[in-house]
């Protein structure tokens, strides 16, 4: 397919050229990621405030987290970031098949993460650690169970919002797979793959903060 045909098909009317269009999209994506940082920032602020208020409860809550599952999920997400980078790379080279494989792997790893998260949630459910009237918590240490409930509230709010972002990301990956199958991505035009890549890395990065803050930081602390 000649280059200029691709260009007329993919270039929106209000841009000068494809390069201008891509640079603009990238810039827009970064601005969007800044809003995402502020979005999670609000929840992180709440986390920090209550961690200062209710340190003992935070330690107690943190110590019941399944570190193994969290660690597995961290590895899964880091691997998915790698496959995502590879799919962007192959999309730029115009290798449709390899792009598809990498996107599919990313999607599978993303689903694995969600599956493991579901197992964890189920565990909390079974242990009555879901906030609400039936919340019940017993563990060694000097703490107030009410305050542990706040820990779990923030745990569910933060990981839940993160999981929601993962689900949206999975939807975007499926969309990319369809477009890729139709041959819409070329070495000249692959902006959507790159944008979804930026988004995916951002969502991974949020987990990279959530994991230590919720699981690790107080794990070996002697409450």
């Amino acid at each position: 397919m000649p280059d200029n045909q691709v260009a007329t098909q993919d270039l929106k009317h209000h841009f000068a050229d494809l390069e201008h269009q891509k640079a603009t999209s990238t810039f827009g994506m970064w601005i969007f990621l800044i809003t995402e940082i502020m979005f999670f920032g609000g929840a992180f602020a709440a986390y920090l405030v209550y961690r200062l208020y209710y340190f003992n409860a935070w330690v107690a809550g943190s110590q019941t987290m399944e570190i193994k599952l969290g660690a597995i999920n961290t590895v899964v997400l880091i691997c998915s970031s790698l496959t995502m980078v590879l799919s962007v790379h192959f999309a730029k080279l115009g290798k449709r098949k390899l792009t598809a494989i990498c996107l599919l792997l990313t999607l599978l790893l993303g689903c694995t993460f969600l599956g493991v998260k579901a197992v964890e949630y189920h565990g909390h459910w079974m242990h009555h650690e879901v906030p609400g009237p039936n919340f019940h918590f017993e563990h060694e240490g000097n703490y107030d169970p009410h305050q542990v409930m706040i820990f779990f509230s923030l745990y569910f709010a933060m990981t839940g919002l993160h999981a929601l972002h993962m689900i949206i990301g999975a939807g975007l990956l499926i969309w990319l797979l369809i477009f890729n199958a139709r041959g819409r991505f070329t070495p000249e035009y692959n902006t959507p793959v790159e944008m979804v890549g930026l988004y995916w890395h951002f969502v991974d990065l949020v987990w990279i903060y959530l994991f230590p803050l919720l699981y690790l930081i107080s794990h070996s602390h002697n409450g």
């Binding site: 003992n56 107030d144 305050q147």
Partner: protein
């Protein structure tokens, strides 16, 4: 006619004059700048209207002018800031030795408790010429204690004590409003502050009272079995509460805090929140078992223990006379008749405390 169209609120506290003075200064500044800008606009609009000045002269700006009209307002607002900060310190720092009135706000009424024992609803009697500190909490949502004639306002929050103070100057009846929206009858959550002559107030406060707030608290202290563990001889499983209030307390996580009303309240309702160094988290929570009024009684009692106007009671087996103030008793006598204490050390076994 001014009864129907008042333009200025009554001044009935020492704070009112300070706030009004700053207010008038600000009104003067605001009026000056409003008239300055309006006059300039009017003058320019007439002088440089197109009919008279068909061709505009382009001026790009003037850094000197910009600095001038950045600097002058900045100077003015900094002066206002300092002035208002001085007033704010007066408003938020109650003088030592102020008499205290406890307040519980609930949808949609104000409940007051005087330390002398009087209880009131939606009406608060206070003496003129004395400092009064309000210790306030809410049973449900956020309310706000607002007395326009005193120029004071403070939010009343659930789950903690907030405070404000005033020094009423003129006897009379003044509005009390709830200023923070609190639901259906928000506008009905109003009351009256009755400022009385101090002599009459003392008469009023002493009439028909069967014991002070602290003595009511002392009864609760016995009734709920607090005295089993919080013992004057330091032999209980809980800390000795004599001379705690207003002093520094070392916690088991290394922090030091001052024991104020909010801390006492929290320690009763969420005992696990802040553990005193050297003690175990064995006290049961009293959340949902004590009314805010009872908590206030307990706080007042522990406060009285702190300033030496009350003592920890004899162990529960002895009937409480209810008389107040309780005559000081020798400290050693408390330990002997304690039947329930199993381990005399402070770091007793981590089992639930005995409850009555």
């Amino acid at each position: 006619m001014w009864e129907h169209l008042p333009l200025f609120p009554a001044r009935a506290s020492t704070m009112a004059g300070h706030v009004d003075a700053l207010y008038f200064a600000l009104v003067a500044i605001a009026a000056f700048f409003t008239f300055l800008v309006s006059a300039l606009i009017l003058f320019f609009a007439i002088r440089y209207r197109k009919a008279r000045n068909p061709h505009a002269t382009q001026i790009h700006g003037s850094t000197a002018l910009e600095l001038l009209w950045t600097g002058i307002p900045l100077g003015i607002v900094m002066m206002i800031f300092v002035w208002s900060a001085v007033i704010f310190f007066m408003q938020t720092r109650p003088p030592k030795g102020a008499m205290e009135v406890y307040l519980v706000g609930k949808q949609w009424m104000w409940k007051f408790q005087h330390t002398e024992g009087q209880r009131e609803i939606n009406e608060l009697h206070v003496p003129a010429g004395r400092d009064v500190r309000m210790v306030m909490t809410s049973q449900d949502v956020i309310h706000s204690f607002y007395v326009p004639a005193f120029r004071i306002k403070a939010d009343v929050l659930p789950g903690r004590y907030t405070s404000t103070w005033f020094h009423a100057t003129t006897p009379g009846h003044y509005h009390l409003f709830c200023a923070e929206y609190c639901g259906t009858q928000h506008s009905g959550m109003i009351g009256e502050i009755v400022v009385m002559d101090p002599v009459e107030y003392d008469k009023w406060a002493a009439s028909g009272v069967d014991g002070s707030l602290a003595s009511a608290g002392e009864k609760s202290f016995q009734h709920y079995g607090c005295s089993m563990c919080h013992r004057a001889d330091n032999a209980g499983r809980g800390p000795n509460l004599t001379s705690v209030f207003g002093h520094q307390v070392l916690l088991d996580d290394g922090r030091t805090i001052t024991a104020d009303e909010s801390y006492i309240r929290e320690s009763i309702l969420n005992p696990g929140a802040k553990i005193v160094s050297g003690f175990k988290n064995i006290m049961p929570t009293f959340e949902g078992q004590l009314s805010e009024d009872e908590v206030i009684g307990l706080v007042a009692y522990i406060k009285a223990l702190g300033n030496g106007t009350a003592n920890l009671p004899l162990p529960v087996s002895e009937p409480n006379s209810g008389a107040y103030p309780v005559a000081p008793k020798p400290e050693g006598s408390a330990a002997k008749s304690d039947k329930t204490a199993t381990t005399p050390e402070k770091n007793g076994a981590a089992k639930p405390a005995a409850r009555q």
